[in-house]
Amino acid sequence: MMRRVLLTGVACVLAVFAAMTDAQDRIVVGSKSFTESAILGHMLVSLAGDAGADAELKTFPGSSVAFAALRSGDIVAYPEYTGTLTRELLSERGLRTDDELRTALAEMGLAMTGPIGFNNTYAIGVRRDDAATLGLRTIGDLAAHPSLRLAFSNEFMNRGDGWPGLRDHYSLPNPARGIEHALAYRALAERQIDATDLYSTDAQIAAMDLAVLEDDLGYFPRYDAVILYRADLADRLPDVVASFERMAGAIDADAMRSLNERAELGRNGDREAPQAVAADAVGRLFGLRAAASQAGVVQRVVRRTVEHVVLVGLSMAVAIAAAVPLGIVAARSRAFAGPVLGAAGVLQTIPAIALLVVLIGPLGIGAPTAIVALILYSLLPIVRNTHAGLTGIPGDLAESADAIGLTGFDRLRLVELPMALPTVLAGIKTAAVINVGTATLGGFISAGGYGQPIFTGITRNNFNLILEGALPAAAMAIAVQGLFDLIDRFAVSRGLRLSR
């Protein structure tokens, strides 16, 4: 009976998982998580729909993962900037012109549309009052004020066309630190920092009345927005590519800034979702009726919940299946206990985010990688508690089992596991509750689940979106706790509670 319930459960989880990952007859387009890229990504979904394809949007935390997903075929297209391609993604090639770029992309089986019509280059912004009092007009003027606190987005701090090159180009003596881009504006307004990197189409530049320093020595390249796509898409679905090409020349810098403003700051304080802004834009620009209407909060939360349950459920199922036997072996053999507990302990000390990033190498991005990380992360509490439960059986009872002649599997089944069950369950509960929280980091690698709105919310400085992931995640953790308390009540013999 128990076995049948278990099998059915596993089958259901696998079915949901298969439904999530099976994207054979659909196309998946990508975007990076910041607002502008998300709006362009949703526009691509509508354009693909207009060309008869069933498109889905996948969000990536940064350029390199999105580019990797495009090359591996996880997605067929995403919005990118020429400067990011020449200076960062393909920097080792020393590409100068758009023609050179197109040739290089073609060698990789990729292509790009014509420029969408705006140059979203990097710029350095300061508060307008500082610019006036300190006489800041160009980037080079910063050198005269080394005490100014510079803080740049983490990506800008590290990329070849970011801070290291800028510092050398202008011989700037100023120190700089990293900050999340969306938080930089607030920090600037609250005078916690004095200068940060901006995108020239950022909605906040006008809204916060920032002064943009002139790049008089011509450091920043052009960051013309384009749609990057796989060349084989043109063979497979030429109508879709033709539809994407309609983006060329469709949006200038003012238009893009206005779209960003609606999504980031809102009009009359009412922000619109990137999807809604995109739907409106494709309507006005291309006469498309909003193909994809914004899913309601409930729908989104339900979908994220299913994804999160799959992440947690699958990883816990595998972790339990691996960790309980490991704990049993460790309890049986002292020689084995040290290495097993040690290895599980080492896995636990690796920061979750680092473990995810390490696993991206061999496994790529997405739910399977997150599940593997969660499995590794859940092992220790279960192995440790299984070991502790089995070795913690009182000496007189262990001797009684010996004296009765209970050995091997019977001893495990009749005496040891039932007596260790409360401890084992406590370990599984700990692992599961931690797992629910850790699984939100899956948002960092596009694994779905509650982490997706949390990460996107942080990137877009959208507190409601953060709550949309954080609140259900907290509720699920509490529910998991309750579930295991219930399991404990029914599965653990009353006799053990009497003697507890």
Binding site: L397, I404, G405, D410
Partner: protein, 250 residues
């Protein structure tokens, strides 16, 4: 029959049992008695093969314990300890039936009821968990478990040690009846001389510091103690009884 030949057991540098020779004939009841730490429980554990001697041989039915298959040796020896050793997650019935499960033997449906009668355990309590039973009831279940496979040997380690005096006296009576009815080879550890004299009047083995000091009937120990220690041990326990009685009547 159980035979000990020059049996020595050390724990670390301390010898718990030192060169003990003894024979326990089939169908006899023997009490191992002596002060705490004299090695009586260690002897009992060696008879069951729970621990092995460092020197000498422990034989059950003519075969050294280490050459027995542990499972079949334990099927032949029922064992009960002071705390009862009942598993808290199993009911009284499940505890009593456990040896049958361990040895893959089918139990006669009436076997447990039969044992209830033998150990004077109330059958309506069979579905209770150990935590819901009194100390005396738990010891009766422990006895049922030791007897369920009808072993030839019964090894009891202070089975009544944790009980209050009234319950203890009642169980002593029941145990004596049980020993007489079953005629098994019984070796029982106790530190109480009166209990030893009552349950095993024909064969008391007095141990001191791991050595067998004297073995014989209660009458022979009283009549001709082999050493000053034997005399002191007997006197102390008799004296204690007298003091207790005098104190109680004052």
């Amino acid at each position: 029959m159980i035979e000990l030949a020059r049996v020595t057991k050390r724990f670390g540098s301390a010898a718990a049992v030192r060169g003990v020779d003894a024979v326990f004939d089939r169908g006899t009841v023997t009490a191992l008695i002596g002060p705490s730490g004299c090695g009586k429980s260690t002897l009992l554990r060696m008879m069951l093969g729970l621990i092995l001697p460092d020197e000498g041989t422990v034989s059950v039915e003519g075969r050294p314990v280490d050459r027995w298959d542990a499972t079949s040796l334990r099927a032949r020896c029922g064992y009960a300890i002071q705390s009862g050793g009942l598993f808290p997650h199993l009911t009284a019935r499940q505890n009593a039936e456990l040896p049958a499960k361990a040895h893959g033997r089918a139990l006669d449906p009436s076997r447990i009821e039969e044992l209830c009668e033998l150990t004077r355990f109330e059958p309506s309590l069979l579905s209770r968990l150990p935590g819901e039973l009194s100390g005396g009831q738990r010891q009766r279940v422990a006895l049922m478990r030791a007897l369920v496979l009808d072993p030839e040997v019964l090894l009891l380690d202070e089975p009544l040690g944790a009980l209050d005096p009234l319950v203890r006296a009642e169980l002593q009576r029941d145990l004596r009846g049980l020993f007489e009815a079953l005629g098994k080879t019984v070796v029982m550890v106790t530190h109480d001389l009166a209990e030893a004299a009552y349950l095993a009047p024909q064969s008391i083995a007095l141990l001191r510091d791991g050595k067998l000091e004297q073995r014989g009937s209660f009458a022979s120990l009283q009549g001709s103690p082999a050493s000053g220690f034997v005399r002191e041990f007997l006197d102390a326990q008799t004296e204690r009884a007298r003091v207790l009685v005098a104190g109680g009547s004052a």
